[in-house]
């Protein structure tokens, strides 16, 4: 039995570790192509842990990136490492083709190629314009923008807001452009989004909400960002935070069901193929609790999906039904979201208030759907328990 895992970041690395921990004696190969400086490949193709890249690592050149594993640790697990980019999949012959022509045969394949920053026409990375995914990106942004430098962040999702705060509190002048009326509105809903928008403004981030980017100005190197409302924002560096897209290009035409990710059943087995699985950001699956197909681009989900697939590959049938969790560090505290905030959900602040530390609940269709805490690690625990237990909205409010 040969198991090939493509993608050597959190989900892929945890999958191979999980296989060995569960006693798999299969031949296991990890294929990685994490980008490094100058278009090359970083550290044998193995990624560094990403959350610090928009937090401590971005702020401070003295902080080191943490590779998720290395050749020696993989060797000790008896896992083979192949550094290279997968470019196609042949399900009939059961092989992955690598850039350069090498073919890697498999009995079982785990797709762990994650996601990659979205770009839109006119807003592509170039001199002075960066997306943020890898340690190389983060180091380049930091170097391009020393203390006192001017940054324009485009996009006010979790990453954009976090980057804006991190760079602001480490002494850069930061402007943030978000076409929607508030920050993080997709992840948190309009009311919580509006509260964080106010707080970022109060913390000194120059906010341009409801405005889009008309053009990046300057010659070879961008010098300013022109907004659709006519404002021109001077910039030493522009950081694009336009969301991400699943990294499925290399699977095109292979016969898998690809619709915004690799479509899987609830055990994370890919639809349309035998012995193909997906983990982490790239996996879209039928969530047993949510009753709908979801794709989750968060750290904890990558760890959980790796555990589920390692279990399924070692004879313990397991479904992935964990409640999603994401955190973000901004405005000097930790934001934590359990579950998913859906458009139109009702919001109730049950602890504190939106200008300080708080716990808020959202609900819809009579169900508690998410628990959002800010600076309230402990206070949200009882509500999180209710969410895990599938509590109704009234029951949750009664507990407040």
């Amino acid at each position: 039995m040969r198991i090939v895992v493509v993608g050597a970041s959190l989900a892929g690395v945890r999958t191979v570790e999980g296989l060995r921990r569960r006693g798999s004696d299969a031949d296991v190969v990890l294929v990685g192509a994490e980008p490094g400086p100058h278009g090359g490949i970083a550290g044998d193709g193995i990624a560094a842990d990403r959350p610090p890249l928009s937090k401590a690592f971005l702020a401070d050149a003295a902080v080191e990136a943490k590779p998720l594993t290395d050749r020696a640790r993989l060797g000790a697990l008896g896992v083979g490492l192949v550094t290279g980019r997968a470019v196609d999949l042949d399900l009939d012959r059961r092989r992955v083709g690598l850039h350069g022509g090498e073919q890697v045969g498999f009995d079982a394949l785990v797709v762990a190629t994650g996601s990659t920053p979205r770009t839109v026409p006119g807003l592509e990375p170039r001199e002075g314009v960066w997306t943020l995914r890898t340690a190389t990106d983060a180091a380049a942004i930091r170097a391009a923008c020393p203390e006192g430098g001017r940054v324009v962040v485009v996009g006010g999702g979790f990453i954009g807001a976090e980057v804006a705060w991190t760079l602001r509190q480490s002494g850069r002048a930061v402007a943030l452009v978000e076409p929607l009326p508030s920050l993080m509105a997709r992840g948190l809903g309009p009311e919580l989004g509006a509260a964080f928008t106010r707080r970022h403004a109060a913390a000194g981030v120059a906010l341009h909400t409801g405005a889009g980017v008309a053009a990046l100005e300057g010659g070879e190197r961008v010098t300013s960002v022109l907004l659709t409302d006519g404002t021109s924002l001077p910039a030493d560096v522009v950081v694009l935070g336009l969301g991400t897209v699943p990294e499925t290009g290399w699977l095109a035409g292979a016969g898998l069901d690809l619709r915004d990710g690799v479509v899987c059943d609830e055990r994370l087995a890919a639809a349309g193929a035998e012995g193909v699985w997906a983990v982490g950001d790239v996996a879209r699956w039928r969530h047993p609790r949510a009753g709908e197909d979801v794709r989750v681009e968060h750290w904890t989900n990558a760890v959980e999906t790796a555990g589920v697939v390692a279990a399924n590959l070692t004879g313990t049938p397991t479904v992935h039904d964990a409640v999603p969790y994401v955190w973000s560090d901004q405005l000097g505290a930790r934001l934590q979201v359990f579950g998913r905030v859906r458009p139109g959900d009702e919001l109730r602040v049950v602890v504190g208030d939106l200008d300080g530390s708080f716990v808020a609940l959202t609900g819809g269709d009579g169900q508690l759907r998410s628990v959002v805490g800010f600076g309230a690690v402990k206070a949200l625990l009882p509500f999180r328990k209710l969410l895990l237990a599938g509590a109704g909205w009234d029951e949750a409010l009664a507990a407040a």
Binding site: G307, R334, V377, K378
Partner: protein, 63 residues
């Protein structure tokens, strides 16, 4: 199995507690993890490992 939490690394995510409530409690005041059953009884070993895996700071060691 022994479980330890490196309190210098622990950032109070509380995910360990969510994965393995019988092994990890959270401190009332600062939300740091507290190991409630060390050494871990055999029946909770898988939970303890799950808790350790889920910690974003890799603050938990099981041995």
């Amino acid at each position: 199995m022994r479980v330890t939490v490196d309190l210098g690394a622990c950032q109070g995510h509380g995910v360990c507690h969510m994965s393995a409530p019988d092994v990890f409690e959270l401190d009332e005041t600062d939300g740091h993890a507290i190991v409630t059953s060390d050494p871990v009884p055999a029946a909770l070993e898988a939970d303890a490992q799950l808790g350790a895996d889920s910690c974003p700071e890799r603050a938990i060691t099981v041995a």
